[in-house]
Symmetry: C2
Subunit: 505 residues, 2 copies
């Protein structure tokens, strides 16, 4: 049963403190409200301004930054509440976080019900979970695992905690790659192919979780992606498809919060992965879905057995949610294309769409395979004829024309930025490349600044099986600041085994 | 392998923002250092001022609170660095948090080595773990459990990450209650008894984790407890014992950080409980230890089986650490004494020491039992003669005299504060009390403001087995603000089953 929230009013002053996504309220330590309510530093407080309300963490001000009777908010909280300088704000004890008992139950190995997931996700979306609570939920689910029923429960709860789009008549097609393979940026190409063939593909993509780039990060270097729902609908009505950032249209907002914490932990467990993927798809109104699962020793999915288990959970959950889905396993032993990082990947995408002779063939082949499967699943091609149709629409320029039209409709096509600093990494020996460590390459690209620095990352010059000479460049680092370039380079220096090279006999 | 930390210098301006224990650095978003280093909001940054260094979370300032070239620090970071207005501060990327891979290994069920615990605790004490990382470590250890070897490894790592006291010749006696039983405030009484009998008991106590009061919170209403090591030594040399807050003498500082997160999660797992207790004892230089384990359905330890398992882990870990220990199981079905909350418990302690006729007999009996066991373990009484000796020193006023002397030596005896607001809670029926819910009583006391509000909590008027009439008071709520009184009362109203009363035939 909910406890009442007692309230008190203060005047807002904007201090301009940006805490990123964390909602913080600043109050004088000697404020009458703090004394009356018994607030302590880092207390979680309900903050009401007008009709909107959030839960914020309390920071005290021990100086005259605030006058008596004044309070301030972190920038994200200010924007979320639509606050105004001098406007009134009321504060109250946040009611106790009852759903935390379900998190504890999971820690101790109990199965969670649909209702429990619903309460947790409701509290998450309301901002009632602090980082400590979010991290415990994610860690408990990863450590104890979620069974099939729990995955469905979590997915449904995540869908219910946000809005759900309706695009009218099916099929609404969609594609998702269960990440972990740097440079595997097929989505913009697939959207161009299948919408050129007349299917509807209103694609919402995510930003990077633990990788150097998400599709939204890459696409943002080619066109605006933070479209709201109205703008997205306009693009889809006009062109049949789009590639926008899912976060801006508030689909499964709980997922965005969980992803931020998963990123800090570098944890991405099976159950949460399935719920994350399918909650976004269900909320986006998708009816037909092709899943790409790259498998390799340093990909996210490391073995065929893991891929089979993940496929089974994905397909089962999709079925329960009423989505018609196919899962394809692909080679995940090395990166795809040449670029790793938002702008560098965008350049590969452009090369494939423009049928440049130098375009990376592996990226093209993967995009055509997935687009072909999607065409067949969504009724855009006869069984067995999908890949040929996809290749034809790439070769005849139809996909490139459609992609430019989509970018224009999203707000205007952009040229991906180029980096200010580069440094080639040379082979220390001569021989044949026998393994490439995707994870360490991705880490180097992140240390170089990707995905926040759009032009940062790396560009590969060598692939598995290739023979290289001593001092031949294996890849080139790209960074926007010298500090980040040095940082990434030092990481590579201390991890020389990113490329394993077998000496020639 | 450690990466280098690139550095840059700014001038400090004190803004007076109190974030509690979280270290935050404030920098202008357009600061040249942020641009050069590629810092993003909430990045973890190494901050150096003079010879000291901490890891802080970055908040951006989008206003003129800071001039170009200036930076600020949260109050705790300012104090920790010994910073000065206008003084120089240099910032750098914090090196990557390699020990997080061990946390992930634990999430996925691997056993952690002594070295892994050492690295994690080293990083925790250096402030390199954010709340997200700390919460994941605690949750993973709770969900996956720690085996005997891991508990020893964690305990040793926690001891090694702080200072370790040496009091000269053993025995150095100590006592610990594995909490969960409100009002069970035997420690100040036991210290008075055994030091009056000539044993050395330099007691360091904790503040509340998830309870309405820790021994340090209660003792603080009777005398200063935040003594540094020098002051503590002076008290022990003079009186043979003390009751001070362990946090002020920097024993097992990792434990204090972990406890803050456990408190937010209301999680306290077996392995961490053992490591927490014994790291403090080992660091405090204790050689002989009596453990009190209250067992009851709403105590922390719920069954004899749980108590046996916990005892075994505690005694095994103590043995490996070279501590001679005994564990006593006690009745944990209801609170001990009358008061719950710092000042209210202090009043019970005084009544027992002063042999007032109204003193709670259960508290006296428990203190005498534990003191007796400690006297026997530490050579202060013959086997079987400990309890009688403890009772004698209570009755002859020796313990009370010693307690006053200890309080004076700690900085002067205080009178516990009384609350500004009270509200009696009346029985709704007539009958016999058959159960009392310790957890809900504790929660009500916390909602009333304990332990931060020293006078807050509750005072019991009825015990298990007692007959009560309709409208007879079961307990009285105490609060320092009206808001908190209402808040606690509303909780009680919505949870009428705190006292289960069996109707009379």
């Amino acid at each position: 049963m909910a406890q009442p929230e007692l309230s008190n009013t203060l005047r807002l002053k904007r201090l301009g403190i940006d805490t990123h996504q964390e909602a913080v309220i600043y109050m004088r330590r000697d404020c009458h409200v703090c004394r009356a309510e018994g607030f302590s530093a880092r207390a979680r407080i309900r903050v009401n301004a007008g009709v909107r309300s959030i839960i914020a963490t309390l920071n005290f001000i021990n100086s005259d930054l605030l006058a008596p009777g004044e309070a301030s908010l972190s920038e994200s909280a200010w924007l979320h509440l639509g606050a105004e300088e001098g406007g009134p704000v009321s504060v109250a004890h946040a009611r106790s976080l009852d759903s935390l008992s379900s998190v504890r139950a999971k820690v101790y190995g109990k199965k969670l019900t649909d209702a429990a997931f619903g309460e947790i996700m409701g509290d998450v979306v309301e901002g009632r979970y602090s980082d400590i609570h979010l991290s415990s939920f994610i860690t408990a689910c990863a450590a104890r695992g979620l069974d099939g029923g729990e995955i469905v429960g979590l997915t449904r709860a995540m869908v219910a905690a946000g809005q759900r789009l309706d695009w009218g008549a099916p099929p609404i097609v969609d594609k998702h790659c269960v990440g972990g393979l740097p440079g595997n940026r097929t989505t913009p190409i697939i959207v161009a192919i299948v919408t050129a063939c007349g299917l509807t593909m209103p694609k919402t993509s995510s930003r990077a979780i633990t990788s150097p780039a998400g599709t939204a990060d890459t696409m943002e270097t080619l066109a605006p992606v933070d479209l709201d729902l109205r703008a997205m609908r306009r693009v889809v009505e006009k062109e049949g498809g789009c590639v926008v950032w899912g976060g801006a249209v508030d689909l499964s907002p709980a997922d965005d919060t969980l992803i931020r914490v998963e990123r800090a932990l570098d944890i991405d467990s099976e159950g949460q992965l399935v719920a994350s993927v399918l909650s976004k798809k269900a909320a986006a109104g998708s009816t037909h879905l092709v899943l790409d699962l790259p498998v390799g020793p340093t990909a996210k999915v490391r073995s065929k057995a893991d891929a089979d288990s993940l496929s089974a959970h994905l397909l089962n959950t999709a079925r329960v949610l009423g989505i018609s889905a196919t899962a394809l396993q692909s080679d995940g032993r090395q990166p795809v294309g040449r670029g790793i990082g938002p702008a560098l990947e965008a350049r590969d995408v452009l090369a494939v769409l423009q049928c440049e002779p130098s375009a990376p063939q592996d990226l093209r082949d993967r995009a055509a395979t997935l687009a072909g499967a999607l065409l067949e699943l969504g009724g855009g091609a006869a069984a067995g004829a999908g890949v040929a149709k996809a290749n034809a629409v790439l070769d005849n320029g139809g996909a490139w024309a459609k992609f430019q039209a989509v970018c224009e409709a999203q707000g205007g096509m952009r040229t991906p930025p180029t980096s200010r600093h580069q440094k080639p990494i040379l082979s220390e020996t001569a021989g044949r490349i026998v393994t490439i460590d995707n994870r360490r390459l991705a880490k180097a690209a992140k240390l170089a600044g990707a995905p926040d620095a759009k032009a940062a990352g790396l560009e590969l010059h060598a692939a598995l099986g290739q023979h290289v000479e001593t001092s031949e460049p294996l890849f080139t680092l790209h960074a926007e600041t010298r500090g980040e370039l040095t940082y990434a380079f030092d990481y590579i220096e201390s991890h020389p085994s990113i490329f394993e090279i077998e000496l020639l006999e």
